[in-house]
């Protein structure tokens, strides 16, 4: 499974996982999961439109996801973007429906956009994927501190002179770029599980923001690597494994939180321990 033609797959999937882990950390922290669901799904319509007019699929994805990000930012109120996001995804999916009805090239190409074609990545795809990924990671690193503060406590950020509306927009643009680079690789339905599962689980294992961010990347990497290998060995679709590992991380995080909560308030257990070993 490390054969030559799969090298592109490993490279592209690794890049996608790193970016998903980084962006996902802030998506979960900001409660922006709905936007992270809407943009990849809506951007799918852009790809369909591009196919219809014979343009580059990535270009169609980029245009639609950036337009979607702008629409959500323009319509949304501070800290409440759910209605704006819902309207945006509806508008985008409706146009996708229109485009699909006009095109004859249906099943395989569209199926690939929904579920990804990670095992069929061409070498020409790796470079643009890496370039967009670099932009995303750089943007998050530059904005790291104001983004962190505006995510955890928007009121404090505002009082400290941070333009929280700009932060909203900037981060939506990052999600749009992640969408553009990740949808051709892992598909618009499955990028969501990479964006949410690893960072949601990472929160349970550490209370330091940079460590949680790093752990989120590690778990995302494990997800795609395990999934590629499992898919290759079993001949089952890779998307199934990506979704399943995401769920496994999330479950592990829950178990860990429940266990930690139990360790913190084990009234009878603690009393027993205290009786046995006096604290020194």
């Amino acid at each position: 499974m490390f054969a030559g033609y799969l090298v592109n797959t490993w490279e592209a999937a690794t890049i996608v996982a790193v970016v998903a882990g980084v962006a996902g950390f802030f998506i979960v922290l900001r409660g922006a999961a709905f936007a992270a669901h809407a943009l990849p799904n809506g951007a799918f319509a852009g790809a369909a439109g591009a196919t219809l007019i014979g343009a580059n699929t990535i270009l169609g994805l980029g245009v639609f996801s950036l337009a979607g990000a702008a629409l959500i930012a323009a319509l949304g109120r501070r800290a409440r973007q759910d209605v704006a996001t819902a309207l945006t995804i509806v508008v985008m999916l409706a146009s996708g429906d229109l485009f699909l009805s006009r095109t004859s090239e249906y099943a395989p190409a569209i199926f690939a956009l929904l579920f990804g074609e990670v095992l069929g990545i061409s070498s020409g795809q790796v470079v643009p994927t890496a370039a967009i990924a670099a932009v995303c990671v750089a943007a998050v690193l530059v904005l790291y501190r104001p983004l962190l503060l505006s995510s955890v406590a928007p009121d404090l950020a505002e009082a400290q002179g941070i333009d929280t509306r700009f932060m909203d927009l900037a981060f939506l643009v990052v999600i749009a770029l992640v969408t553009t680079m990740a949808v051709p690789v892992v598909g618009s339905l499955l990028i969501f599980s990479l964006l949410i599962g690893p960072p949601a689980a990472a929160r349970a294992f550490t209370d330091r923001p940079p460590v949680a961010l790093g752990l989120s990347v590690v778990l995302a990497l494990l997800s795609v690597w395990v999934s590629i290998a499992a898919s290759f060995e079993t001949n089952l679709p890779i998307g199934f494994f990506v979704g399943a590992t995401g769920a496994v991380w999330y479950l592990a995080g829950h178990v860990r939180t429940a266990w930690a909560g139990h360790a913190r308030h084990p009234e009878p257990a603690r009393a027993r321990r205290a009786a046995r070993t006096p604290r020194g």
């Binding site: 922290l29 904005l143 790291y144 955890v152 009082a159 400290q160 550490t206 209370d207």
Partner: protein
């Protein structure tokens, strides 16, 4: 707790010592939001080291006034001067509703550190100097004990202290607090008030604290800014909290009752209204 706060460095007054000590000045300020006049002709000034209670019922305009000082609301008329710096880290702010999610990977000390550099770009590396400043501030507000705890898991009173440390770490000359006592039990509220009075004197900071009940603040307030129906009156507690002054402010007869060291403001009977004819 007093001994905790004593550990903080006796901060020298920033800026020229001969300069005026006024940290906030409102001059005939009016604010309209959505066509409605929220504040009307409010004039007020606050000196460094003064503890001022911003008192008024719900909807009296307290939050709007604080947001005005922060520069987040633009006055329709009048001027707001914060002589020691405009918006930004020079004004410390503790907002009213603090909703920190319990599963956020963020320790109390991380939030305080963001008060120091949260507005800066780049991931930033915090050296020993920054860590020492964070430790010192956590100590000063009595939060050292839970510095490493997940901030979302702390109690309301503990989060309040972390927020105060977050606001104070940039060494502002003016600290604004929006209803910090609203979600605290009586004991935790008293502790926060005592801590703030100590900080105001020790670090020579002007404090403007909003509350709907003035009683917990009576022992420490140097002055009061009383809001009712968008209008304001300020002065010493004795000047402001009198039947005559508050009746004029409310535009109707109210009575101030002092009992057991507490103040109660109640509506008077219409029949006995000598001050106004509406």
């Amino acid at each position: 707790m007093g001994s905790d706060a004593d550990a903080s460095r006796p901060s020298p007054p920033i800026g020229a010592p001969s300069a005026t000590n006024t940290v906030l000045e409102l001059d005939d300020v009016s604010v309209s939001l959505g066509g409605r006049t929220v504040l009307e002709d409010v004039s007020f000034s606050l000196e460094a080291g003064e503890f001022c209670g911003l008192i008024g019922s719900n909807g009296a305009g307290k939050t709007t006034l604080l947001r005005l000082v922060l520069g987040l609301v633009t006055p329709a008329r009048g001027t707001v001067r914060t002589p020691l710096g405009g918006r930004g880290p020079k004004i410390g702010y503790v907002p009213q509703k603090i909703s920190l999610e319990p599963d956020m990977p963020l320790r109390a000390r991380d939030l305080v550190a963001l008060g120091l550099d949260g507005h800066r770009l780049g991931p930033g590396r915090r050296g020993p100097a920054q860590r020492a400043a964070v430790d010192e501030m956590l100590e000063a507000v009595g939060a050292a004990r839970f510095a490493e705890a997940r901030v979302g898991n702390l109690s309301g009173g503990e989060q309040q202290r972390v927020m105060i440390a977050h606001a104070l770490i940039s060494r502002p000359r003016l600290l604004l607090l929006d209803e910090p006592l609203a979600n605290l039990d009586i004991r935790a509220g008293q502790e926060v008030v005592r801590l703030l009075a100590h900080i105001a004197a020790e670090q020579h900071i002007g404090i403007l604290l909003s509350a709907h009940d003035m009683n917990p603040l009576l022992p420490v307030m140097d002055r009061i800014l009383y809001l009712a129906a968008g209008r304001a009156v300020s002065g010493s507690t004795d000047e402001v909290v009198s039947t005559e002054t508050l009746s004029r402010l409310y535009g109707q007869r109210v009575e101030v009752i002092r009992t057991h060291g507490r103040v109660i403001v109640v509506a008077g009977t219409d029949a006995a209204d000598p001050t106004h004819d509406f």
